[in-house]
Subunit: 238 residues, 2 copies
């Protein structure tokens, strides 16, 4: 078995809080538009608009904000005011400037692991926004490489590993999303650690069987990772 040499971390909801910021803005958005339609109807519309738009706009705050505006235009039966649009845009700008709140224990884990492993961030979303969050997190010094991708699928991980000359068996990905952090890496022959976050965005949800789950390690929080490395390698049955 190859020695794990590189550990990569997802960023949003793995290193810092993200989904609750989106859900908070969504709640403000629904309240703002309550005069046009009931919140449940608007939310249903928003999920549909987002689903349609992901292929065009990609992931991240800007695409989300455009989907909020498009939803507002659709549900308002043409009674939408310019002032409301400006309020929605202001919500998006607040998101982009909101403080980066590290998840518990993150810094201690990185401090510990960076002594023995080469650490990476592999995240997706808007380029400038992700770079700005990494800078504001003050975590950049722990990472040798940072990759911001438009999609985190097998092809994308394959390209990243090849760019950095890392064999799948030497690579471990740690993140909160089965769809983006765990399954593609496991399929490539890499190691993966799932650290679920309280909230998962609809578009990241996947169903997995009990059998599949033996292929990766699931931890309650990032603090549980260092004790599994490298002494407790049987954690990784593969």
């Amino acid at each position: 078995m190859e020695r794990i040499r590189v550990i990569a971390f997802d960023a949003d909801d793995t290193l810092w809080v993200n989904e609750p910021i989106f859900r908070g803005v969504e709640a403000e958005f629904l309240a703002l538009l309550e005069k046009y339609a009931d919140p449940a109807t608007i939310r249903e519309r928003l999920v549909a608009v987002e689903r349609e738009n992901i292929g065009v706009f990609g992931y991240g705050v800007k695409g989300f904000l455009l989907s909020l505006i498009e939803t507002a235009a659709q549900v308002s039966q043409d009674r939408l005011s310019g002032a409301d649009i400006q309020k929605v845009i202001a919500l998006g700008k607040e998101m982009l400037a909101s403080p980066v709140e590290l998840l518990e224990g993150v810094e201690a884990v990185l401090e510990n692991l960076c002594r023995d492993y080469s650490l990476m961030i592999i995240t997706k979303g808007d380029l400038l926004d992700q770079e700005s969050k990494i800078a504001r997190s003050n975590l950049a010094p722990y990472f040798d490489k940072i990759e911001i991708l438009s999609e985190k699928d097998e092809d994308a991980y394959g390209r990243v590993l090849s760019t950095h000359g890392v064999a799948p068996g030497e690579f471990m990905m740690v993140g909160n999303s089965l769809r983006s952090d765990v399954l593609p890496v496991v399929n490539l022959g890499g190691h993966a650690v799932h650290v679920p976050f309280a909230t998962t965005w609809e578009h990241e949800q996947v169903a997995v069987s009990a059998m599949d789950q033996s292929l990766w390690l699931t931890l309650a929080n990032l603090g549980e990772l260092p004790p599994c490395l490298p002494q407790q390698r049987p954690c990784f049955a593969r």
Copy 2:
């Protein structure tokens, strides 16, 4: 003098037409909003909104689209209709799907240069949009590396060169923007070729002195580049 080993190209308005697409959409936008304010006033507002928003949204179609919407909300004196917002969003989506029109002679130049040089694309904008344009251009096979950046300044070029182990003296950047393609590379000690495009976005315009201009090569079109390399190296006075 080191041998030039890597030639990097900007993409928008260097390899393919871009600014005219933005200007075309802007014209449709001004026509759509004519009922709210006169086009000159709206355009002035748009340039100001874009300037304010670049630091928050970064470069690319999504930020532009958000600036269009914000401008519409501002100039409509609260009489903006949901239908108009949907039309503006549709304009943005058309931009993201518009065909990639290569500039004249681009493919022949790349075909020629890729035999002797390692070629790169270094561009900025929205991640997914730039990737999609590169894919639709069918030019990807000519390039060894593609870098999509949030900003093209000295720091960013320095990071790219260091990632790929390229010394500034071995590196040449070719592009239409003095601000993003030429000046930062020249300042780092690299070679730069300016191929002006008919239209330059306000936010890319810089003033340069006649003296500065001896530091890079200016060509009328990309087809003039291969004859300058490597026999006519005195082109590069530095």
